[in-house]
């Protein structure tokens, strides 16, 4: 069953068409990536999903139907940067925002202590939010999003301002939540994080879906007809090869249309070439992102 179903939504602000036609589904218990260049319509899509904006057209189903006030308590949302009261102590701010999610005060206190300890913010709980560093504020926002144990987490740029240690911490938390059955919709520009975390993605550009589906399938779809090979010995001449390109510590062998990767592997093995690496060349998500967006610009 899907946690989120977005079907052909559109939204414009005056003359500006922010979202033209976007559709996707987020399955229960997956980490889903909502990707797109700046101004693609990601934030508008999220706000439509959360019923902050009414769509001009299309349908939205969230947690099995239209958004209701009761469902708000089952959703955790973190907007891109800020989102916390700056002039009040961190603990008071988080307790207040969690209480609006319907969590009893005793439970808030208990949960909050655990999270503050885990995110290394316990000793800063009495400080005003504005006195915290950007990274600390980001962690505080993540705590605010998760404190009420939501079924669906919608999180915009979760790794902004985080150092590698805290980035890993947030990733660990997200993976734990997914394993516990929480659905996570993540919007980010950090493609390597998407590759590590997301099961499926949708790429939006200029208000349209341009890419949607399982991440591995998409990468395979864009893999082209090539293999990556690394060997200590020099590669012999191979049949069915169009070109050989250096690629980091390996070579990328571009195959002719009729050649299969197995044919190349067979040739290498039969010539006793010691292989350290042999894999089908799959593009990074960064490369796919750039390719798809550039193709969109050319259209």
């Amino acid at each position: 069953m899907s946690s989120v179903e977005i079907s052909h939504i559109a939204k414009s602000f005056g003359e500006v068409q922010a979202v033209v036609d976007v559709s996707f589904e987020v399955q229960r218990g997956e980490i889903f990536g909502l990707l797109g260049p700046n101004g693609a319509g990601k934030t508008t899509t999220i706000r439509i999903m959360l019923d902050l904006f009414k769509a001009d057209a299309g349908e939205v189903s969230i947690l099995g139907g239209p958004m209701t006030e009761a469902k708000k308590e089952r959703i955790g949302y973190m907007p891109e940067d800020r989102g916390l009261y700056q002039d009040i102590p961190l603990e008071r701010c988080l307790v207040y925002l969690a209480s609006l999610k319907g969590l009893p005060k005793a439970e808030i206190k208990e949960q909050l202590s655990t999270y503050l300890e885990r995110f290394d913010l316990a000793e800063h709980r009495s400080k005003k939010v504005k006195e915290l560093s950007k990274g600390m504020q980001q962690k505080a926002q993540i705590i605010n999003t998760l404190l009420h144990k939501p079924e669906l987490v919608i999180i915009d740029e979760p790794f902004t301002a985080l150092d590698p240690i805290n980035t890993q911490l947030v990733k660990d938390v997200m993976l734990e939540l997914r394993d516990e059955g929480t659905t996570i919709l993540m919007s980010t520009h950090q493609m390597h994080q998407v590759e590590e975390l997301c099961d499926r993605i949708v790429l939006i550009d200029e208000g349209y879906n341009v890419l949607y589906g399982n991440l591995n399938e998409i990468r395979r779809r864009y893999s082209g007809h090539a293999v990556m090979v690394r060997s200590e010995s020099d590669l012999p001449e191979l049949a069915g090869v169009e070109a050989i390109q250096s690629h980091n510590n390996a070579v990328k062998i571009l195959l002719t249309e009729e050649t299969k990767p197995n044919d190349v592997l067979h040739q290498l093995v039969s010539k006793n070439i010691a292989l350290e690496k042999f894999e089908i060349a799959v593009p990074t998500l960064d490369e796919i992102f750039i390719k798809v967006v550039e193709e969109g610009e050319d259209r």
Binding site: A57, E69, K72, L84, Y85, Y96, L100, N209
Partner: protein
């Protein structure tokens, strides 16, 4: 579980009430009034000198002088007769007296006297000596006539329609009280509107609003905020009332100021002020909320505050015009103008009994305008809450009230 409206209200209250600016506003009005009264009393004490006053009476008008009655015997100034001007001058030089009068032999004809002093004698001394002189000049008349002479003029002011009568020449405290309450309400609606606008702009700026409206409905949020602001204003009002009661107690019992003694409160006037003041309060809050929802920065919205203030105090500029004909067309029209109505009705009520139909009509008009402003505020909030850093104009707000829908063709997902 506590209602979300209540949670928002409590937060709004806590955020604002513990601000330095709130405590400043809370204390500023009573402190300002205290300063004015204290300064006046200080100046008064500087003007008063309770040292004796001398006189040299060669005219023989103060022989066997009768003392004039003094309202407060403790403040009575001693008058000392000197045989010669030289004796009086010596006493003045030695500081035994603060001044002395010389009544020449021709005083009965000329009515000219001389006053000799180094520093201008205090007002009390001058007034008491005048009474003393007056009562002795009238010593040939029956005592009640002599006493009446010292009391001075007595003017009773009556409204042409007979609805107001002021035996002391001016409105008593009980009649002025509704105007004071009106002024207090005016300050309240200014501060309440300010808190509302500042809060909304800040929440838009720091995007807290985006998080909050994913927890509560916009309606719950706005209601909670207004409730919180009302509590803040009630706190302010209670504090001011307590200060007012203290001031009244001091004025009645310590300083024994006659104007404050046995006040007869004009309850009808109070009711009129409240009937108009309450919708005006909500109008101010709603307008500031609308502005807060539409401006890009708090500074941009600060222009509305002075406009509301100018409108609110505008009746003081027309006080003569209102006074000339308190039930005339101009005064009645001004009583209907939002914000100006509060003080206009207060001033008119001091001078005449304002017809109830006008009060009800004014209160009704303020209510309708306030409801319109609340509707506008709701529209502006829904439309502008997430447009951070952008200014939104009225046309956009009104257009946002009518959703536009269009059909899209099937497909489109690659």
């Amino acid at each position: 579980m506590m209602s979300k409206i209540l949670l928002v209200a409590i937060n709004e209250y806590r955020v604002n009430v513990f601000k330095k600016s709130f405590i400043f506003v809370l204390l500023s009005v009573p402190l300002f009034l205290g300063f004015i009264i204290g300064f006046g009393m200080f100046m008064d004490s500087q003007e008063n000198d309770d040292a004796p006053v001398g006189y040299v009476d060669t005219a023989g008008i103060l022989q066997d002088a009768t003392p004039a009655p003094v309202e407060n015997p403790e403040e009575a100034i001693q008058f000392i007769a000197f045989e010669t001007e030289q004796d009086a001058k010596s006493a003045l030089e030695e500081g035994r007296i603060q001044a002395y009068y010389i009544f020449g032999e021709d005083y009965q004809e000329s009515r000219n006297a001389e006053l000799v002093y180094y520093d201008t004698p205090g007002q009390d001394a001058t007034r008491q000596f005048n009474d003393f002189l007056q009562i002795n000049l009238l010593s040939d008349f029956p005592s009640e006539i002599a006493l009446r002479g010292t009391e001075g003029s007595s003017v009773t002011v009556r409204a042409p329609d007979g609805s107001r009568e002021f035996p002391d020449g001016g409105p008593p405290f009980g009649i002025v009280l509704p105007v004071i309450i009106g002024l207090a309400l005016m300050f309240l609606l200014m501060t309440a509107g300010g808190f509302m606008m500042e809060g909304v702009v800040q929440e838009r700026e720091n995007r807290t609003i985006e998080v909050i409206v994913t927890s509560v409905s916009p309606g719950q949020m706005v209601t909670g905020k207004i409730l919180g602001i009302v509590w803040i204003c009630l706190t302010q009002l209670v504090a001011w009332i307590l200060f007012g009661i203290l001031a009244l107690f001091l004025a009645q019992n310590v300083y024994e100021i006659s104007w404050f003694q046995n006040p007869v409160i004009d309850w009808e006037g109070m009711l009129a002020i409240l009937l108009i003041g309450i919708p005006t309060f909500f109008l101010s809050v709603a307008l500031m909320f609308t502005v807060g929802s539409t401006v890009a920065e708090a500074q941009e919205g600060q222009g509305l505050g002075p406009i509301i203030f100018i409108l609110s105090i505008s009746p003081t500029w027309f006080i003569m015009k209102i006074g000339e004909d308190p039930n005339g067309p101009f005064a009645v029209a001004l009583s209907m103008v939002p914000f100006a109505s509060l003080l206009t009705v207060g001033i008119r009520n001091m001078l005449v009994a304002v017809p109830w139909w006008q009060i009800v009509l004014s209160a009704g008009l303020q209510t309708v305008v306030a409801l319109g402003a609340i509707w506008l505020g709701g529209q502006a909030f829904r439309f502008g809450m997430l447009r951070v850093g952008q200014r939104i104009n009225l046309r956009e707000i009104f257009r946002s009230g009518t959703p536009r829908r269009k059909k899209l063709s099937e497909g489109g997902v690659s």
